[in-house]
């Protein structure tokens, strides 16, 4: 009996010691693997914003694993569906951190949803790299743990559009239609700096994203007699405004933000080709979707997902956006050295600066900079062909602590 008691005591002590040692170790790291948590909208109405973005990130990690991994460790990923919904996203993040014990997070395609995870991530000190969400509300004021806007920051979207209108068309009076929410406020704030520098007057109309009749905002914009109209809205209001512009004979340039459509073909179907005679769309990649400069990414997708690639509308427009955040994560892990800790990875991220070969600008972070990309290109689209225009347009907005 006493022997049994001694053995049990020794076993308990050993277990506690092992547990303590394991507790001291970084979560999600073993000698052979680094566990990361990926999340994005894999179902639901906003699936088009992230389903293939998640696929792109996965295929990049698979490629790294085939090449030997990072300092001998393979990347092991766990994927959760956040449905672009704040509650689902926070639940996914908690599950990945608390149940799956991931080392770091890489996810989110919708800005409003990712902002909801900010407090939890910062409180738990988990390195969090967004996928294609701009998530400006989570990026600024900067924290030590959240990095994003690999597609582009909303602060930068509007500013780059103003820059394009001023440089390309010599516009001095620009109509600017954005959403009447935080998302709209972010891009308008970014635009003001570029408008000031370029001597551009902005005539702003802020609309509800659910608006059905756009007559009033369009007529007011029309009355301001602008040299160009910038539409910084989601797909539906953007299409309604483009149709209304055609109905009202507006023939000056209409410039649509990157957030304004997930499919240019669908936009042409919705508004009709006649409405796209003087139409330009913003793109944050180095080329138009499917363009020659992005061919290696599309080839990689076809090899990784032959079944999906054979389906119509696949890969989805935003697919390549998944590559830069995955590259950033891999680079930070490499830079952190053979014995990575969360703090080492975070330190590496804060000085990260690389060219993804996918996005229009470099992925650059800094002491106060948590938005990786601030540059865009513009494409002339006539309803049939996409013609990328020369030049990269970058917003001047930088975060200023208040």
């Amino acid at each position: 009996m006493s022997v049994n008691k001694t053995a049990a005591g020794l076993t308990l002590a050993a277990s506690l010691l092992i547990g303590a040692a394991a507790g001291a170790q970084e979560p999600g790291i073993t000698d052979k693997a680094i566990k990361i948590g990926i999340f994005g909208p894999l179902s639901g109405p906003n699936m088009a914003y992230g389903f293939d973005v998640v696929n792109a990130a996965k295929m990049y990690y698979d490629k790294i694993n085939k090449e030997g991994g990072i300092h001998g460790r393979k990347i092991e990923y766990v994927v959760e569906d956040d449905r672009c919904n704040a509650n689902d996203l926070v639940a996914a993040v908690k599950k990945l951190v608390e149940q799956e014990n991931v080392f770091m997070l890489n996810g989110g395609s919708c800005s409003a949803a990712v902002v909801a995870a900010k407090d939890y991530v910062v409180r738990n000190k988990v390195p969090y790299l967004m996928l294609n969400a701009s998530g400006d509300g989570a990026l600024f004021p900067p924290t030590d743990y959240i990095f994003g806007a690999y597609s582009i920051s909303q602060y930068a979207v509007g500013g780059a559009m103003v820059e394009f209108a001023a440089k390309q068309f010599g516009a001095k009076n620009v109509a600017y239609i954005n959403h009447d929410d935080a998302y709209g406020a972010w891009n308008l704030e970014g635009s003001k700096k570029d408008a000031e520098v370029n001597g551009v007057k902005l005539s702003v109309e802020s609309i509800n994203p659910g608006i059905n009749d756009v007559t009033a905002p369009f007529l007011k914009v029309r009355a301001a007699n602008p040299d160009a109209i910038l539409l910084v809205t989601y797909a539906r209001p953007a299409a309604l405004l483009i149709k209304k512009a055609a109905e009202m004979g507006f023939n000056k340039p209409i410039i649509l933000s990157v957030t304004g459509t997930a499919s240019l073909n669908q936009l042409a179907e919705n508004v009709g080709k006649d409405a796209l005679k003087n139409f330009y769309t913003q793109e944050v990649m180095i080329d138009s979707p499917g363009g020659a400069k992005l061919k290696p990414i599309y080839d990689m997708y076809k090899a990784a997902y032959p079944d999906l690639a054979a389906k119509p509308d696949h890969p989805q427009t935003y697919m390549p956006y998944g590559i830069p955040p995955a590259m950033s994560l891999v680079k930070a892990l490499k830079d952190a050295g053979p014995n990575p800790t969360r703090e080492k990875v975070l330190a590496a991220l804060k000085t990260q600066d690389f060219d993804s070969g996918v996005m229009a600008g470099r992925m650059q972070f800094g002491p106060q900079q948590r938005a990786a990309n601030r540059s865009t290109i513009f494409i002339k689209y006539d309803g049939t062909t996409m013609a990328p225009l020369p030049g990269v347009f970058t917003s001047r907005w930088t975060y200023q602590a208040k």
């Binding site: 059905n212 007529l219 797909a235 539906r236 309604l240």
Partner: protein
């Protein structure tokens, strides 16, 4: 009829010093566009009121019925490439049957097992979730789509307001449907039976009205009206699985007009359409979404029974 080629508008701030000419253009355009969108709100309000009058149930699925009917038409016309002369009647028949059968096999059962009307209202909420979920599951609702306009979308000028041929078709069709509905309600045996059911169902039953059949007809007709509204407005507002939220404007129209009045629903629809535009043009684009609620508030304060709600009655409890 010349294409819309507005003069170079003066650069004026919108405010007290607004140029009179510009204000007149805004006024004309606001009324013209408000009548077009208002005609669709009016149709949906009519569908809501006709059910409420005869069943005492506000149908909270009316917006989703409208949305689902639009997707049925889209599926048949765009994805199945069926001819429009098949698509239009097929959509109306599907909407009629779906609503009539919902009344017969869901609401009648709910009414049998639970006497309280609130359970019927909950059942309509259930229908709204089912329809929205179904459309989302099909995948067609993932991206905004346009149901092809069946008439040209060229613009013409009426006074200083620009409207499209499609706008005129929407307005004309909506008014014709409403007129046909009033004619049926007032001058046909079936319509009179429906009115009798609305006034006193027990008395109507005593004089030989088949209540079950009448309710099925009414719910079916409300589905047809919603489907017509969807076919009319879908080329203009773009289709998404959330497009049924437009029903809030129809409820606003019904409240403004008087929830028990069919003509009130129609007038309320036009009022909401015009108020939306006027608020957007003369106050702020941000305030457009508040306009219907503002209209409801004003009407409830000044005339709680609505513009055509008749004499205000107070029930003793």
């Amino acid at each position: 009829m010349a294409a819309f080629a507005p003069p170079p508008f003066p650069d004026l701030s919108i405010g007290p010093d607004m140029d009179l000419q510009l204000a007149l253009i805004f006024l004309q355009q606001g009324i013209a566009s408000g009548l077009v969108s208002g005609s669709v709100y009016a149709l949906l309000a009519l569908a809501i009121v006709v059910i409420f009058k005869t069943s005492d149930v506000p149908n909270f699925a009316q917006g989703e019925v409208f949305m689902a009917a639009g997707y049925v038409a889209l599926y048949l016309f765009v994805f199945q490439k069926m001819p429009i002369w098949v698509v239009l009647p097929a959509t109306l028949v599907v909407a009629f049957l779906a609503m009539a059968l919902f009344r017969r096999f869901v609401l009648d059962q709910v009414a049998k097992s639970a006497k309280d009307l609130v359970y019927l209202v909950i059942a309509t909420l259930g229908l709204s979730y089912v329809l929205k979920g179904f459309v989302r599951r099909t995948g067609f609702g993932d991206t905004p789509r346009s149901f092809p306009a069946l008439v040209p979308t060229d613009s013409i000028m009426i006074g200083q307001a620009s409207v499209t041929m499609l706008d005129l078709a929407i307005f004309g069709t909506a008014v014709t449907v409403m007129a046909a509905f009033f004619w049926m309600f007032n001058y046909t045996k079936t319509g009179r039976a429906m009115r009798a059911v609305g006034m006193n169902p027990k008395a109507a039953q005593l004089v030989g009205v088949d209540l079950r059949r009448c309710h099925m007809l009414i719910w079916g007709l409300s589905g047809v009206i919603s489907a017509i509204a969807a076919l009319l407005i879908s080329p203009k507002i773009l289709m998404t699985a959330d497009m049924g939220s437009i029903v809030m404007l129809a409820f606003a129209a019904a409240i403004v007009g008087g929830f028990s009045s069919l003509p009130g629903a129609v007038v309320g629809g036009f009022v909401i359409g015009i108020v939306e535009n006027m608020v957007g043009l003369f106050i702020s684009s941000r305030a457009i979404v508040l306009a219907p609620f503002l209209a409801i508030l004003i009407v409830l304060v000044l005339r709680p029974q609505g513009l055509f709600g008749g004499k205000l009655t107070i029930k003793k409890v």
